[in-house]
């Protein structure tokens, strides 16, 4: 499948933003009052990433001016559901954030509701791809699970970095660091299983696509046209597959191994935000590679006709 940069940026940015918002929501129940600059930065970053991602996703639309219509078909369409959940999450999350930041009211109930809504939104993003039966690689329950786990891992790592940036405690933060490392580890281990499970024989073949398999082996003799077409540009993307193995390794190194090492490096006092900042950047870079591969590696059933 053709990897559209706007969609790659959207899924990575909004995934991390919603993950951070979910972590803030769950944190409200336990941590209570926090310094205002921390809350402003954390919520600001969470909303900027989420809203920025959502806006960038409209760039690949043919008619962005009609995007409001996409909220209407939530009964059947995961794309519509994602839009609805994103807006509800942002509205309730904004009330929750404003109460905590400006009035020092950290409502545990609002926080938990925000967290659940944020994670449902991420699940819906994953389901947009998982619902497409014509793409074997995506059409699995593990697809939205990966989206969810990456969002949690990204949000936790971001939270850890912001926490370090705004607290001058000179002691190690083992608990929070461990949570981030475990979240990163689980997400990438599941992703490796996703990759391994995806390397299998395709559901549809030229034989089933033409219904001529009972007669013999089917191969394309002549394309329907001399030029290319929309279908080939959109679904027939081959460039990545040559380097897929190497790119997967790069994604794991940048997304998991390096951030975990950097978090370990930052644990001993003085607790250092610099290394954690690097961990966030490295993780997001790994996520961009992972998301690019997510599209580029996916084979669409229609390509059996080409």
């Amino acid at each position: 499948m053709h990897p559209a940069y706007s969609v790659i940026f959207f899924t990575v940015a909004s995934g991390a933003g919603l993950g951070l918002l979910a972590f803030m929501g769950l944190g409200a129940a336990s941590v209570g009052a926090q310094p205002m600059p921390f809350l402003l930065t954390a919520f600001g970053l969470a909303f900027a990433l989420t809203v920025g991602g959502l806006l960038s996703s409209t760039f690949h639309l043919g008619h962005p001016e009609r995007a409001w219509r996409a909220f209407s078909q939530w009964r059947s369409s995961w794309l519509s559901r994602e839009g609805v959940f994103a807006v509800v999450t942002l509205v309730i999350g904004a009330i929750f954030a404003a109460l905590w930041t400006f009035l020092d009211l950290s409502s545990a109930i609002l926080g938990i509701v925000t967290a659940i809504l944020a994670l449902i939104t991420v699940w819906a993003t994953g389901m947009i791809y998982a619902q497409i039966k014509a793409v074997d690689l995506w059409h699995r329950l593990l697809t939205p699970v990966c989206y969810l786990l990456f969002s949690i891992a990204g949000g936790t790592t971001l939270f850890l970095f912001l926490h370090a940036l705004f607290t001058d405690k000179q002691e190690p933060v083992w608990e929070l660091s461990s949570v981030a490392m475990v979240a990163l580890l689980i997400a990438w281990v599941v992703k490796v299983f996703w990759w391994l499970g995806g390397d299998k024989a395709p559901t549809s073949t030229p034989e089933s696509a033409t219904g001529l398999g009972h007669l013999g082996k089917v191969r394309l003799l002549e394309k329907p046209h001399t030029g290319s077409n929309y279908l080939q540009k959109e679904m027939g993307f081959h460039i990545a597959r040559k380097h897929a193995k190497r790119l997967r390794l790069i994604a794991i190194m940048l997304g998991a191994v390096l951030p975990i090492l950097l978090i370990l490096l930052a644990i001993p006092a003085p607790f250092d935000a610099f290394w954690l900042g690097l961990a966030v950047v490295s993780h997001l870079a790994g996520m961009l590679v992972e998301r690019w591969l997510f599209f580029a590696e996916a084979r669409h059933a229609v390509m059996t006709y080409y």
Binding site: M1, H60, L61, G62, H63, P64, R66, A67, R69, A70, F71, S72, Q73, R75, S76, S77, W78, L79, S80, G83, I128, Q131, I132, K133, A134, V135, T203, S204, P206, S208, A209, T210, G211, L212, H214, L215, G216, K217, V218, R219, L220, L221, E222, K223, P224, H225, T226, G227, S228, N229, Y230, L231, E234, M235, H300, A301, V302, Y305
Partner: protein, 247 residues
């Protein structure tokens, strides 16, 4: 409304005969001609006379080679357009309600004024029946010539999809596949009509008829060049043989 109707009153669709199709592409051209001026936005071409021509088509003819084991390969021309599936995955994924399946006749259509051009329906279709128009930025697909089949302003014999009307080989048939007594349903029953990619679970309405079995199977291809060798008879034949024998 992107929820699919539970049942449709009729199941209008096409039956395509892979035995008869000669691969002339007339259906492709007549489809483009009718639909570029018919329902919805025109079907744009980009760089039509340049190095990289590309265009929107609702119907395309592929050509496949089928190679049976131990037999010569055969060529099958393969027209492909929207199959108007009963479980159309392109409809349910649409976030705006622009894609819909009509409950009266089962035709799958796009309300182009509501289409945001997200392309998700084209991803959802395993057959490649939907193409985004490069100029209008809305999704285009076969309408089963909805603006012909009910059109009382044109002669009755023309009230059939443009591709069916134009096919010089009679390889395309149009009718109600929901009615077991219709011509198309009987054709499907007689000839063993089949679904494309049944494993995708889309329940296509359009059916394909398989190529008929070849009348004789040739184990060894005949050497046609040898048949064209001139054979002399009479005196010249004797002379020919005698000279052969002399070496």
């Amino acid at each position: 409304m992107t929820q699919l109707p539970e049942t449709t009153d009729r199941k209008l669709g096409l039956v395509i005969d892979l035995d008869t199709c000669v691969g002339c592409h007339a259906c492709v051209i007549s489809c483009k001609e009718w639909n570029t001026g018919g329902y919805g936005a025109p079907l744009a071409d980009t760089d039509a006379y340049g190095d990289d021509p590309s265009g929107t088509f609702l119907n395309r003819v592929h050509t496949f080679e089928v190679k049976p084991e131990n037999k010569p390969a055969m060529v099958t021309h393969f027209p492909k357009s929207c199959l108007h599936c009963e479980d159309a995955p392109c409809v349910t994924v649409c976030p705006t309600g622009a894609s819909f399946k009509r409950s009266e006749d089962g035709i799958v259509l796009v309300h182009e004024d509501h289409c945001i051009g997200c392309g998700l329906c084209a991803w959802a279709c395993p057959y490649g029946a939907r193409e985004m128009d490069a100029v209008e930025k809305v999704m285009k697909k076969c309408t089963l010539c909805v603006d012909r089949i009910y059109n009382e302003n044109i002669p009755e014999e023309d009230r059939t999809p443009s591709c069916v009307r134009t096919c010089p080989a009679g390889a395309r048939h149009f009718g109600d596949l929901g009615d077991p007594d219709s011509d198309v349903s009987r054709l499907v029953a007689d000839r063993g009509g089949f679904d494309l990619m049944p494993e995708q679970g889309t329940k296509p309405v359009n059916k394909y008829l398989p190529p008929r079995p070849k009348q004789q199977s040739l184990d060894e291809p005949v050497n046609l060049a040898a048949l064209a060798e001139p054979k002399a008879s009479g005196f010249l034949g004797w002379l020919d043989g005698a000279l052969e024998r002399l070496g």
